[in-house]
């Protein structure tokens, strides 16, 4: 597991931006972290890293935002309002968390697959997980449980 620390929202965005550069079509990236840990900030940088000029905003209520204009179509999901895999299927989101036509970044991924599903040997369409943790007001720890970062 690769672990880095960021010291501002801008640095968390930069981490997302740099991660996005190595992303391949069909990848699903699952984000875990408390309220305010910086998940949406990470995705904002991620979209920028794909080259998308889209304004990234929280999909908590919409469940799904789609951003175009980058080298891959980006699906930004937020499972915060959903509690079980069955509800996620019921909302019509299963394809986006398994085989996106582009790349998916999924906040609160643990609602889909539990806390600690391993991602060793991940291929296209396999889940790659990233954990964001609040260390103090400015500092975040970002743990990448995946190859290709």
């Amino acid at each position: 597991m690769l672990i880095t620390r960021t010291h501002s929202v801008a640095e968390t965005e930069a981490a997302g931006e740099s991660f996005a550069r190595s992303v391949q079509p069909g990848w699903v990236i699952g984000l875990s972290g408390d309220l305010g840990a910086g998940k949406t900030a990470f995705v904002r940088g991620f979209a920028r890293g794909l080259g998308s000029p889209a304004r990234v905003h929280s999909p908590t209520f919409a469940l799904l935002n789609e951003y175009e204009g980058g080298r891959l179509r980006l699906f930004h999901l937020d499972l915060y309002r959903l509690n079980t895999a069955e509800e996620i299927r019921g909302a019509g989101l299963e394809d986006y968390v398994t085989r996106p036509d582009g790349v998916s970044v999924v906040e609160w991924i643990e609602r889909w697959c539990g806390e600690s599903q391993a991602t060793e040997g991940a291929g296209p369409g396999t889940l790659r997980r990233i954990y964001l943790r609040t260390v103090d007001e400015q500092t975040r720890e970002i743990a990448y449980d995946c190859a290709g970062a």
């Binding site: 309220l35 908590t60 919409a62 959903l82 019921g90």
Partner: protein, 341 residues
Amino acid sequence: MLLALETSCDETSAAVLRDGVILANVVASQVRLHAEYGGVVPELATREHLRNLLPVVHEALDQAGASIGDLTAVAATRGPGLPAALMAGFTSAQALAFARGLPLYGVHHHEAHLYSPWIGGQPPAAQFDQFEPNVSLIVSGGHTMLVHVRGELDHTVIGSTLDDAAGECFDKVSKLLGLPYPGGPLLDRLAAEGNPAAFEFPRPLLAEPNFDFSFSGLKTSVRYFLEKHPDLADDPQALRDLCASVQAAIVEVLVAKTVRAARQLGVKCVTASGGVSCNSGLRRELELRCAKRGLRLRVAEKRLCTDNAAMIGVLAERQIRAGKAPTPFDEETRPGWSLER
């Protein structure tokens, strides 16, 4: 007579209108449907829109004293929204319109919000005779945006949230406070008995000379505040003060930017719609500031603040009147539809 459907997010809704008069406006979560239809099913499940649609449409037609044969047009939300949810309502409307040989109108959900404050009276009807150019605040769990409405069917988005919507901030702060979800309405009630000046929270982007919003940092600042004062929310009065202080921060930014936009754009009217426009603190502050600045204020009636098909129908009827062409049957939903285009 027009039938309108709305299924862009959680709510399944159907409305029946004739010449601007809303004959029926049925929202699945707000009514108890007849037992023969299996009752109201849980929200959030897109496939449940399909189960809800037929009973909701029947209920709306019944309330309007109408039948399918009376319809002359069909409208539905085409976007933006959750793809599978939009598809449920839009393709149902397409099928009905196609089968009955009626014109279909695919409507933009946010554009429809712009006209919900203009619905009033009994029976409720679109009051376009009272319409005037305005700045419109659309504020809900999913959206926070300011729109300059120059005239009927003529608007420009002038600002929106850079991260979280205001309603999302209310709900997530409630969660941090240990209130049951969705906590926005409960926070509003607690705030009514609290001191809004008890604690100081940031007013994000308030001083910026633009009309954008940001609420993610405010949410995070509440989190740090609670970490520093772990027992504070256990004291009922301190909890009420905290709710009032957070609400005051959110409301001040929303109201100040809305009023500033109206003054800069030289319009004399402000409107508000969306779920958060039910918030009593926001309604009160909008009334105070608009009155002080000589601005006319129209806030959507409470039952029309949240997602509903009546506003979809009101906009569709207005578009028909303006000579807009129907949406061809081979067109699809537009989940990412921006209000600009």
